[in-house]
Symmetry: C2
Subunit: 158 residues, 2 copies
């Protein structure tokens, strides 16, 4: 999964265009694995690429459908995209600095499936996000300056 080049893109049936290649590259080169459409667009602007925000959304949506990226929603109100490495995981989001940690817990996965079955359902997918604060504030240096803290939007409602 996650084609890293023109061949990979082609194999998904998508034409190999500049916008698609550039967006893929941004995900590969960025320090942040998790980016909103705005985040990607901002990088493109800095690079003086003439790529519109609408194209970013279109490309990300197509990439999602092709299995190249995954979309999450957290509580920010915005969609967050990341390259799909094929390994399923859930997210832990730092409310102090927005940092996103990925984790996988087999037991949680197992119980989710079991719970669905017990209620007469067939589990298709799930979305799990943990929201936490740094136990040791020193270790949470508001690291992802590009990514606004997840606490931001909740604060708006206060």
């Amino acid at each position: 999964m996650a084609p890293s080049n023109a061949q990979g893109l082609r194999s998904t049936g998508l034409k190999v265009t500049q916008p698609r290649l550039r967006i893929l590259e941004i995900f590969q080169k960025s320090a942040q694995r998790h980016m909103t459409a705005e985040d990607v667009y901002r990088v493109l602007l800095e690079e003086q690429q003439d790529i519109g925000l609408a194209t970013v959304y279109r490309v990300l949506t197509q990439f999602e459908q092709a299995g190249i990226v995954r979309r999450s929603n957290f509580e920010s109100g915005k969609s967050v995209f990341e390259i799909n490495e094929g390994k399923h995981h859930d997210h832990l989001v730092c409310l102090d600095c927005g940092r996103v940690v990925e984790f996988y817990d087999a037991e949680i996965e197992r119980r989710q499936k079991k719970i669905a079955h017990e209620h007469g359902f067939e589990l298709q997918e799930h979305s799990l996000a943990l929201y936490a604060t740094c136990a040791d504030k020193q270790s949470c240096p508001h690291f992802n300056k590009g990514e606004a803290p997840a606490a931001e939007r909740a604060a708006h409602r206060e």
Copy 2:
């Protein structure tokens, strides 16, 4: 929690107004525990109450802050509200009919807290939603006609 009357409302420090009483009543009388702001507004319209959508949003937000309702986001892009009975639970959403089942799993809760700790965080909250289809379609009679299937928005992107 979840004051069911004027006294209860007063105790939260909120003034007892018609819109607040009516909205509370709608949650108490409705067959659906889970409703969007639009859902509530639609009921008000049917009752010819002159209550604006903005007020519905304001009241629901205040109720959330007062602990009277809880807000969830699922994948629909809209906020879903329910009366806060005080018992924490997560949600299982039927992709066929939109039905929402509540569940609680102590082991999942435990592991979430453990995972956060292992990464140096203090868990504050979490959001877990399971998306599933009915194993036996007969038992899923598109029950919540008022509530559009959760699959709807995803379909929009296709």
